[in-house]
Amino acid sequence: MTQVSEITEQGQTSQELPKQSSLAGGFTFAHMLLKKPGALRKFRVMGPDEERYVRPPREYEIPEYRKGMRCCTSNEPYLRPTRWCNPREPKIIAMANELGAYELSDCEFADAAYWFVKTKLVAEMLPLDSVTATLERGTGTCYHLISLWIALCRAAGIKARYKTFMMKLPDEVLSQEMTEQGAMTANFFNTGTPEGEGEVCIDGNWVVGHVAMRPEILARVGLPIPKLGEDAIGMTFKLVPGTIKRFESLPRRLGIGLKAGTWLAPAAMERANVLIQTEMLPPGRRIIEEAGGIEAYDRKARNVQELFSAEEITRRTKAKRKQVVKFKE
């Protein structure tokens, strides 16, 4: 099998992060280190008593690639290989076929691939690499996971693309227990680091999918689990207005940034990985088990979220009770 070189957008400037926001992020980071130069060592070196990250075992088997397995070889935009997302890698083709490529409808396949990535892979902070590497590890950042989903869909002949946006930290995060250090980094991430989703084209319509967050992480805080077609913006994240971008290929700058981050702050990355494994996943897992599984949990979470929402409370206040309030202009 001949590897096709990664192709970026032809004749177009890739939709990269606004330079201003990237520069602002860089300046903030430099400012952080100037104020706290000792932190650099802590970013880079794990303490002798600190828990070390151990990658969890992969939760699935990768089927063997067999010659003749169907895959898409089109060079059309959103179907062709792009940076860090080659749908023609053998293991990707094998997994796509295992999930039902060319047997299921586009919608069914996209959904199957969505839940596969969402429930079987887990977050890990590390530099961007190939989708095969992600599949073999069973871990990655949100961009690894989105790329894997996109690659599987493209392998199945379904157009797919990236969608990124800037996440706004909730008010409660910015002000609760906000130390000086927290404030510095809050500003940094509010300007420089996007969240991501994927989109697949089903029957001519782009459908969003937030594959990058395990159900356990959402269950831990009582949030519903977004299905294919449900946007995490609003459900899980608050959007910084005007920051949604869509593109066929991940910008090179993102890869450089992640690599630089991993080089500069490997210990910080490792601590984040430990946190995910030890504090974020286990409580969520228990909650889902006690609820009777992901679907049962999600049903309850949605019902509770709807019940508690201000809109629902206001709407359901019975007409009779609403009449106790009169507005006099």
């Binding site: 980094t185 940094f188 508690f308 206001t314």
Partner: protein
């Protein structure tokens, strides 16, 4: 030993007399006994809320909480649907061990209220019980306009100061509010057997605010002869929001550490008040949020001043232990500063832990400074990250079942982290206590890899 027992006996007699006196002063807050429901009984019957035998208290607690739960289940449409969703009815609550089953509401629900006219409908939707006709005037009523419209009709809708700039709005009826005030007074009287001659409170004037921390202290006028408030200007929602959030915080930049003009006035007023009573024999009580009292004491220390009020002084703090720019100040260090600067012994410097959402207050004991829960009408719960109850001695999320909350379902999960002990390791009061230091839970909303990394970097920036 005999001398100690005698002293203890005298102290207990003094306590009993003081409690009786307080009950007498608050007679108007107590409804006629023949109208008492089980929640009223749990509040008004005990002479000392922290010295009820465990057996008697458990019986009161079960009856009180079950009564209130049944009330909300039957009369609050929103809460009823929640209970149906969780498949719990009042018939499921048979013993104290079943109380854990009562569905808890996350405190964020009370923060997620709409703005504008819909706020009025939201309050109506959350409220349990009958409401009078509410008239809201103005084409574009403000937050306070709507709250005041309810309160002029005899309700007691109040809100917290809210560190995020989002208020928790709690719709109390007058019965619930007066129960909260009575509970506060009795909690305080249990631990401080002294009626002070002069009181200065560094809280908002209750007549000029709808902030819970201001309003709930209004009964001070009934308890003490001479009460003054150092914060005398109107504290509206808008003023509070600017003070607590402000645009700078939302963008993550640091708020200014320069003392405001208002704070300086409060400090000056307090120092003058202390100087006035320094040379007398009269007793004084100084109450307020820790950060304000620290400002006062720092100002005194800067000027090389100190006082020696001794046993005739009392300090009561409430409102949380973040001082400047979210730095915490340990209560033990605060007590030492009070002793050094005001000459008031540590046993007379107590903290009160309360929430706007609750009508029960946790009061520190003078012996060990552990926070005692009023366990006849409030059941404290500590929950792990999966929101399952944990045992004594474990840190977890503070939740409570509040039997006194008659006008809204007071079965709430707060945003605080606490550790509950089965009993106080120091004093002889029988009920459960919290460790003195209560923490805010770090925002538990989920965020992606970016936010996780941000948290780690923040922690790593602490040298």
């Amino acid at each position: 030993m005999q001398l100690n027992n005698s002293r203890r006996d005298m102290s207990e007699t003094q306590d009993v007399r003081h409690q009786a006196k307080v009950s007498e002063l608050l007679a108007d807050y107590i409804p006629p006994q023949d109208t008492w429901n089980p929640a009223d009984e749990a509040l008004y019957q005990p002479a000392d809320p922290y010295r009820v035998s465990l057996e008697e208290a458990q019986d009161m607690q079960l009856k009180a909480i079950k009564f209130t739960f049944t009330r909300h289940y039957r009369n609050n449409d929103f809460y009823h649907r929640y209970c149906e969703m969780r498949d719990i009815t009042p018939d499921d609550i048979k013993t104290n061990n079943n109380l854990d089953k009562i569905p808890l509401i996350p405190d964020i629900v009370f923060k997620q209220h709409p703005s504008g006219k819909d706020l009025a409908y939201w309050i109506v939707g959350i409220f349990t019980g009958d409401l009078p006709k509410i008239v809201v005037e103005g084409a574009n009523p403000t937050f306070d306009d709507i709250v005041n419209a309810f309160n002029t009709k005899g309700l007691a809708v109040m809100y917290t100061s809210g560190t995020s700039g989002r208020f928790s709005v709690i719709p109390r009826d007058m019965k619930t509010f007066r129960a909260a005030e009575y509970a506060l007074a009795k909690s305080r009287a249990s631990m401080v057997a002294q009626t002070d001659d002069h009181v200065l409170l560094l809280f908002p004037n209750p007549a000029r605010t709808n902030l819970f921390i201001g309003r709930v202290s209004s009964l001070s006028y009934d308890l003490f002869g001479d009460v003054h408030y150092a914060v005398d200007s109107a504290i509206t929602a808008e003023v509070t929001q600017k003070a607590m959030s402000g645009n700078e915080r939302l963008s993550g930049r640091m708020p200014s550490s320069v003392q405001s003009e208002t704070q300086q006035k409060i400090v000056d007023k307090t120092v003058q008040w202390l100087e006035r009573y320094e040379k007398t024999e009269e007793s004084i009580r100084l109450g307020g949020p820790p950060f304000m009292l620290v400002l006062v004491m720092n100002a005194l220390q800067k000027d090389g001043k100190r006082f020696d009020f001794g046993e005739r002084g009392n300090v009561l703090t409430a409102g949380g232990w973040k001082i400047h720019e979210n730095a915490r100040f340990p209560h033990a260090d605060f007590r030492k500063q009070v002793q050094n600067v005001l000459g008031i012994p540590e046993a007379r410097c107590l903290d009160l832990y309360g929430l706007c959402e609750s009508n029960g207050f946790m009061m520190q004991c003078p012996e060990g400074h552990y926070l005692h829960a009023p366990y006849t009408y409030l059941k404290p719960l500590v929950l792990d990250d999966a929101l399952m109850p944990v045992g004594y001695g474990e840190w977890g999320h503070f939740a409570f079942l509040d039997a006194l909350a008659q006008s809204y379902p007071g079965f709430i999960i707060s945003g605080d982290l606490v550790r509950l002990l089965e009993r106080c390791p120091v004093c002889d009061r029988p009920g459960p206590v919290f460790e003195p230091e209560v923490h805010r839970a770090k925002g538990e909303e989920v965020r992606g890899c970016a936010e996780q990394l941000r948290r780690i970097l923040s922690q790593d920036l602490v040298e």
